[in-house]
């Protein structure tokens, strides 16, 4: 494999990694913002409306609270901000805008999630993960999944910085 074909493969991998992360963040945001009432599972019940939005975020606040990590006064602001942060990161990753900083922010957020999941698992907290919506148990699978996502976040960040540096060198040459 020549240097240029390796370089192209690296760019393709970066694109795939970035798009995967984007989909993950968008799915996580949607899981938190969509109506949380379990029944009935109709198309209408999956549609986000202004009325359902507040209720969904407060429901998510209960899931955040079950981690027993934040004081109650901080739970609500955090739970109300997180889905929008995930939505923003998802859109930015999808467009590729300011990729170095966005991927770095994504990796840091994924590191935070991974740390919290490890802590909860070590404490044997029988709670829901709340990562991609309600009723998702936090177990060893969550630990593996979040570890993989964190590794992907780091890989995309490194890739974004490497590509940026190479592009700068190419422009200078």
């Amino acid at each position: 494999m020549t240097s240029s074909s390796r370089w192209s493969a690296g760019r393709v991998l970066l694109l795939l990694g970035r798009l995967t992360l984007a989909v993950v963040f968008l799915a996580a945001a949607y899981g938190k913002l969509r109506p949380q009432n379990a029944v009935p599972w109709t198309l209408a019940s999956l549609k986000i409306t202004p009325a359902s939005l507040g209720l969904s975020m407060t429901f998510f606040a209960m899931q955040v609270d079950s981690y027993q990590l934040l004081p109650p006064r901080m739970v609500s602001p955090f739970a109300h901000a997180l889905p929008w942060i995930e939505l923003g990161l998802g859109i930015l990753l999808l467009t590729g805008f300011a990729l170095r900083y966005v991927s770095l922010a994504s990796a840091l957020l994924l590191a935070l999630f991974y740390g919290v999941v490890i802590r909860s698992y070590a404490l044997h907290l029988a709670i829901n993960c709340g990562c991609f919506g309600p009723n998702e148990k936090l177990d060893s699978w969550t630990l593996v999944r979040d570890g993989c996502l964190f590794a992907l976040g780091v890989a995309v960040t490194i890739g974004a910085f490497v590509v940026h540096r190479r592009n700068r060198v190419a422009v200078a040459a």
Partner: protein, 245 residues
């Protein structure tokens, strides 16, 4: 004559009537058996519903219904009871906003949780659920396997302290034959039926750990929520549900 003979031969050689008769008889017997069995099943179900109502607090017609699947020996259940359910009972349950339903989900890994659930269920049968549940949770650190007291698993004195002597006598009578955790011992204990039914209901959800909370309002049920939730956060959710049209 010939016709008669022909007819007899047809019957003896597998006439449809001859085949149908035992089938119809068997079906009739099954129907009778089902009819005889049905009242006992319905009675058990009605009894469970009655006991379930005894293990519930507040107005059954409240706009919000909250079911809590609890294990009396689980420390997080104790935390939920002391820090969230107590203010909830004193405030939103007392004012008729929330109907709080207790369901037993004694986890097999806990040595004394089933025994504690039996005491509470026996107390519920005489209308003393709330007092005994409070006594059990208030003294969890004294009787549970994680507690500091020895010997462990001694629940009776705490139940006795929560009841009058006459009430305790009635509860003690209901607790006859309710020792141990094995399947044969479960069969000999009258209050275990309700615990098993609660457990089966939980498994249908499914309950994956305790405490698990299920909230329903405006005809809609929300997904089961596991773990302890602090009262200010739960109240926020209830307020939003109550403000919904």
């Amino acid at each position: 004559m010939n016709r008669d003979n022909k007819g007899n031969n047809e019957i003896s050689n597998g006439h449809p009537l001859r085949i149908l008769t035992p089938v119809v008889a068997a079906l009739a017997m099954c129907f009778c058996l089902a009819l005889c069995a049905a009242p006992s099943v319905a009675q058990t179900s009605a009894e469970w519903e009655r006991l379930s109502a005894e293990k519930s607090l507040g107005n059954p017609n409240a706009p919000i219904k909250m079911i809590v699947y609890d294990d009396y020996e689980c420390p997080v259940c104790d935390e939920l009871y002391e820090q969230t359910l107590r203010p909830l009972i004193n405030d939103y349950v007392a004012s008729g906003k929330v109907y709080l339903v207790h369901r037993d989900f004694p986890l097999p890994m806990h040595l004394y949780s089933r025994q504690a659930a039996r005491w509470v269920n026996a107390a519920a049968r005489i209308g003393k659920f709330e007092a005994v549940e409070r006594a059990i949770f208030d003294n969890q650190m004294a009787w549970s396997e994680y507690g500091t007291e020895n010997p462990k698993g001694i629940i009776k004195p705490f139940v006795q302290a929560a009841l009058t002597p006459a009430e305790f006598k009635r509860v003690e009578r209901l607790m006859q034959g309710c020792e141990g955790n094995s399947q044969s011992q479960i069969k000999g204990c009258v209050v275990d039926e309700a615990i098993q039914r609660d457990f089966a209901q939980g498994e249908l959800l499914p309950v994956r750990g305790t405490p698990t909370i299920v909230i329903s309002a405006h005809g809609q049920q929300y997904p089961p929520m596991q773990g302890a939730i602090s009262w200010p956060i739960l109240r926020q959710f209830f307020d939003q549900l109550l403000n919904q049209k």
